[in-house]
Subunit: 374 residues, 2 copies
């Protein structure tokens, strides 16, 4: 790929429940923040890619590309990319392709979701659109149900306990405590997680990412520079239905995307010091650590146990992850990249990784970022 | 752009009301037909881009990229592009960018819509998602309403009569009569159109494209060859809301895309002998002829009058257009390219054009195709 795609600006709205703001308001706020941080004029944006999953259902709004374009004075070409909760990373990947094609030089990538305008039932049903509507949904599953099954199977295969799993959200909430953009900043103990209300046995409320409003915007450019370079951008797909897979306790899409991303960036996994990973449910983070190769299969929880005890140099989900930072679904993948970039800059660290997936990892996007000043 | 992107395969389902087929069935049928026509193995597809507007609402299905990937044996990377009724052309444009970036060599672009699974009310509301949900929809407009307003204003400015406008659908139905994939193959006289039931004054039923099921698939490649070359691929955007535009009787997105496409292909407008254009409502075709530069403003209807009387060498909407071929919205832009390619091959013609837009031309995609054997 093009070796010189830079993150030259970024902007976030806080993630939360924003009853007073519309989809458009959230988009405007993130775009303004990204432009401000980039020191570019709006008219230097020559393309917009919007990531969104749910606006047709939650806001009766399609064509979010044109809506974003409407918010810029020169109405640049714009389109929407969707791949359920992985929409953000796939929009970033699409932006990289347009930059590499030379059709665009400076691309605004905007993830947005306004989920609280619809009832919880309607949102839950719409989120189930990320599963297979013919092969999975008719069984009565929701996404907490799918990840409940995955947790049950994982416990069966590897002996993970309920108490161990609770460490994941405790780490995420501790991290979110320091993040002014996070939806839930209160600290939780593992015991709090274990004692929270049952959602889909064995998953409890504090294992589950919330319904959130929010937007995240990145500006990627080949002609404007910054110390933050996109060293790899990879996407993969898998079967949409969990019934067509050989296993549900490991995600092929993640494994393949990671393998390709390491090859593309030409680094070792051990060079990566900071990771944002897709913890839609706590069990996902455990599996992700294994699929990304940071732990052996069955041992992903050790990473979280080590982090909680202060025993590892790997920094994981500093944002608070989907659980505590919040999960406006299509904004998440873009927020992850922003968070990784911020950490690399603030700590003079060289390499970081953002890992985002859609559905039960039916699609996956991984970006590796280099701080060229580190 | 890359000068060597070829259309190496294509497949269509018939457009219509397919109660017995699911979204997945339609996708499978179009993919199989495209693969067959390309003589490629499925595993030679290294990326899939799906165009879809409505499946979240009509089928409770997101993540159509992963669904399409599920239908191929090797589950290649896949994503969905959406820009309302312009999704098809923008998916083709995105495929071109991926090919130009060298990230993909052979891309399957699949447009699909299963609209009849939802009630007409639900579909009408979902289609209104292509307008601005904050600035347009609260006025009570539907899309027939928006184009009714446009028609009224156009008649006011340019003196177009109801009887003249009726020639548009008469031409489209005459063309569809010969198209085995068309939803409505019966011939209509202009008088039939004028006498059809009122939908949104002055638009009548036979001015309006229908609700349709269908899928269309193209295979674009830089390593496999065919006589059909993509000579230009352009996309543009405009404000989503019609209230933010200086006029509603001409579409800036079309004018800009056409100007860029002619420049990219380095041909004159007069070289183009066959056009598929976006006639979501009959008035749109009249305006499109002007915005594409085939007629002066106010005189677009003359093209249709000339075609109806057999007085012009321009072949327009041989498929039957959206009105008579049917309009499974995100499949339309891809069907247009297939239809243009078929005409170029069958008649040894060199240049053709496909013009697709979303909403009231809030986004537009134009492709110019060359038959290098002509």
């Amino acid at each position: 790929m093009e070796k010189n795609i830079y993150l030259v600006g970024s902007g976030l709205t806080p993630f939360g429940e924003w009853w007073g703001e519309s989809l458009r308001d959230l988009m405007e706020e993130a775009i303004a923040a990204a432009l401000k941080s980039s020191h570019l004029n709006a008219t230097e944006i020559d393309m917009v890619i919007v990531a969104n999953m749910l606006a047709e259902v939650t806001n009766n709004q399609s064509g979010l590309g044109a809506l974003a374009s409407s918010l810029l004075p020169h109405h640049p070409p714009a389109l929407r990319v969707e791949s359920a909760c992985g929409s953000g990373a796939l929009a970033l990947h699409t932006a990289c392709a347009f930059l590499e094609s030379k059709r665009a030089k400076t691309v605004l990538v905007l993830g947005v979701e306004k989920m609280t305008d619809a009832s919880v039932d309607a949102v839950s049903q719409a989120l189930m659109g990320a599963a297979d509507s013919e092969l999975d949904a008719p069984s009565g599953l929701t996404f907490p149900g799918i990840f409940g099954l995955i947790t049950r199977r994982y416990m069966h295969e590897f002996g993970l306990t309920r108490e161990q799993l609770s460490v994941v959200s405790a780490v995420h909430h501790r991290n979110a405590h320091e993040n002014p953009f996070a939806q839930f900043r209160q600290k939780l103990t593992p015991e709090d997680v274990t004692a929270s209300p049952l959602v889909s046995d064995p998953l409890r409320l504090f294992d589950c990412s919330p319904i959130s409003d929010g937007a995240a915007a990145c500006i990627l450019s080949t002609i404007h520079k910054s110390p933050l370079r996109i060293a790899a951008s990879q996407m993969t797909s898998d079967t949409l239905s969990i019934t067509e897979r050989p296993t549900i306790v490991s995600f092929k899409a993640t494994r393949e995307a990671m393998s390709r991303a390491l090859k593309e960036s030409d680094i070792d996994r051990s060079d990566i010091k900071v990771v944002e990973t897709h913890d839609c449910f706590s069990i996902a983070s455990v599996i992700n650590m294994e699929d990304l190769g940071f732990a052996k299969q069955g041992e992903g929880i050790r990473i979280y146990e080590d982090i909680y005890a202060g025993r590892t140099p790997l920094f994981l989900n500093n944002s608070g992850g989907l659980k505590a930072c919040g999960h406006p679904v299509a904004a998440t993948g873009i927020k992850q990249l922003i968070e990784v970039g911020k950490y690399l800059k603030d700590t003079s660290t060289q390499w970081g990784l953002a890992h985002n997936f859609g559905g039960a990892a039916a699609s996956c996007g991984i970006h590796i970022m280099e701080n060229t000043n580190a």
